[in-house]
């Protein structure tokens, strides 16, 4: 019993220390005068690696989730003769919840794990140390561009996910199941509020982008520099980031749509 309490205390302390180190890392990376002009090619490269290369998985997932939503939604709505509400159902589900959340989860698996592994390996092969010895701050040179790439890319990916999902819903609902096409769009227009639904969704996505990217970078930067350490760090990134996204999603949903 005493041992378990000790363990709990140790885990809590460990988590808090980790949070502290992550904050310090972020502070070190972002503090001071940013030099995007000098390093713009680094930022571009990271946005390509983190964002553009995640497009495929986002497009395919968005399309299929939109199609499934329409299919499931249609069966229920049809029972009440409310098929024309399929548009708002698909759009609201995607904009408010599925778009930001699923994008963040996919992003954690696709880009987050890659970031952790890359930085962990750079640490293990002393690349970060050697950069430091060359008087180049690895936080600014390595961490900062990846952080901004994540924070910029993910909300854009979520918007793309939403758009493709809505088209997928149209594909199934209108083109296959025969819901009225004009009704699909006009009901959506009438029921989706820009501020309440679209903007809030984007805000969620920015928060998730921050959380996932920071976790991925921190786990890599903090990884034990061995093959086992890096494999653990990569797993932890995906698990921690996914759980954090779901947790934050609940809180944000309660604040945004709970009242």
């Amino acid at each position: 019993m005493l041992k378990q309490i000790q363990q709990l205390g140790a885990n809590t302390l460990g988590t808090l220390q980790g949070l502290g180190r992550a904050t310090l890392m972020l502070f070190g990376a972002l503090w001071g005068r940013p030099r995007p002009l000098k390093n713009w090619h680094l930022y571009m490269k990271q946005i390509y690696v983190v964002g553009v290369l995640s497009l495929l998985i986002i497009l395919v997932s968005g399309l299929f989730i939109g199609m499934v939503l329409a299919l499931q939604g249609y069966t229920v709505l049809a029972k009440f003769g409310a098929e024309q509400m399929l548009g708002p159902l698909v759009a609201l589900s995607l904009l408010r919840e599925l778009g930001p959340v699923v994008t963040a989860l996919l992003f954690a698996g696709r880009a987050g794990s890659a970031l952790t592994a890359e930085i962990g390996l750079m640490k293990a092969t002393e690349q970060l140390s050697s950069m430091e010895m060359m008087a180049v701050d690895p936080l600014r040179r390595v961490i900062a561009p990846r952080f901004w790439a994540g924070v910029i890319s993910m909300p854009l990916l979520a918007l793309i996910f939403n758009a493709v999902g809505i088209l997928g819903g149209h594909l199934v609902g209108v083109d296959w199941l025969g819901v009225d096409g004009g009704g699909y769009w006009s009901a959506m227009q009438a029921n989706v509020d820009f501020q309440q639904d679209v903007v809030n969704g984007v805000i969620k996505s920015i928060v998730f982008a921050f959380v996932v990217t920071v976790i991925a970078l921190h786990k890599g930067f903090d990884a034990v520099p061995t093959s086992e350490g890096i494999s653990q760090a990569t797993t932890q990134t995906v698990v921690t980031a996914s759980l954090a996204v779901l947790g934050f999603d609940f809180v944000l949903t309660a604040v945004m749509f709970g009242g």
Binding site: T125, E126, Q127, S129, S130, E132, M133, M134, A135, V136, D137, R141
Partner: protein, 271 residues
């Protein structure tokens, strides 16, 4: 800062460093004279790499001073430390080349980061450094395509890219075949003399070190157990130094890691 050329470039005074409970260095002092190749030898696991990291300011000692050009490295603020690091350079054991860049870009990296020179001049500088280590022809290769010895030479070219005053070699001979070993031995000496560098070589390869070093420190058991020119060391009366230089398995540095009494521990199992 004005600083006498006759003073050592790096002066370590009464350094104590602990890692957790374990004392790595206890009240240790050493000097590294300008323009000389100074070697630090000692058995593995006594923290020779740690010493280089202390000099580079990547670790902080528990007490003592590490003077580089008269400035105490551990007490410098971040900006001063980065300024000091521009004058020093370190060759890591693994080479630590940036894997996503070609050899050329690796060598150009510190120049591009710290200067605003036009690309044509950078090209000339990089080619000169690569020529010095014999890898001018390999400039377009990626680090993964290099052999271990070549990677270390490429890293050496990168380390001298900005003409540092001090260069620290971490186990430069470890895991090298005899030919690349010979090449690196020659490079350390010739670069030191041609560029007017001060070199610190950390190694446990006795023969190679004794052949190039001007001065040698032998470190064991948390302190310097002997120092002098290679010639003086060969005559050293300390049995510890002699054990190390001659590579005897057992002696004052015990073969066994510190442990409880053997017989007692074996008997514990049967209890």
């Amino acid at each position: 800062m004005e600083f006498g050329l006759d003073k050592p470039l790096v002066d370590i005074q009464n350094l104590t460093f602990r890692r957790g409970e374990r004392v790595i260095y206890d009240d240790m002092s050493m000097q590294f004279q300008r323009g000389k190749v100074t070697a630090i030898m000692g058995p593995s696991g006594i923290g020779k790499t740690t010493l280089l990291r202390l000099i580079g300011g990547q670790l902080k000692p528990d007490s003592g001073k590490i003077l580089f050009e008269g400035a105490d490295i551990p007490s410098l603020n971040r900006q001063e430390l980065y300024q000091a690091r521009k004058k020093m350079s370190m060759l890591f054991q693994s080479g630590a080349l940036f894997t996503e860049m070609s050899v050329f870009d690796n060598v150009a990296f510190p120049i591009r980061e710290h200067t605003r020179l036009p690309e044509a001049i950078i090209r000339t500088m990089v080619l000169m450094k690569l020529e010095a280590v014999g890898l001018r022809g390999a400039r377009d290769l990626m680090p993964a395509e290099l052999s271990g010895g070549m990677a270390r030479r490429a890293a050496l070219a990168r380390a001298i890219a900005l003409d540092p005053q001090l260069i620290m070699y971490d186990e430069p001979f470890a895991g090298q075949d005899p030919i690349s070993m010979g090449v690196i031995v020659r490079l350390i000496r010739s670069l030191n003399d041609a560029l007017g560098l001060t070199s610190i070589v950390v190694s446990h390869d006795v023969a190679e070190v004794m052949s190039i070093a001007d001065y040698v420190y032998v470190v064991a058991e948390r302190r310097v157990i002997g120092h002098g020119t290679p010639e003086q060391l060969r005559q050293h009366e300390s049995p510890l130094v002699q054990q190390f230089l001659q590579g005897q398995a057992d002696g004052p540095v015990p073969f066994h890691f510190k442990a409880a009494d053997y017989a007692t521990e074996l008997m514990e199992l049967s209890r």
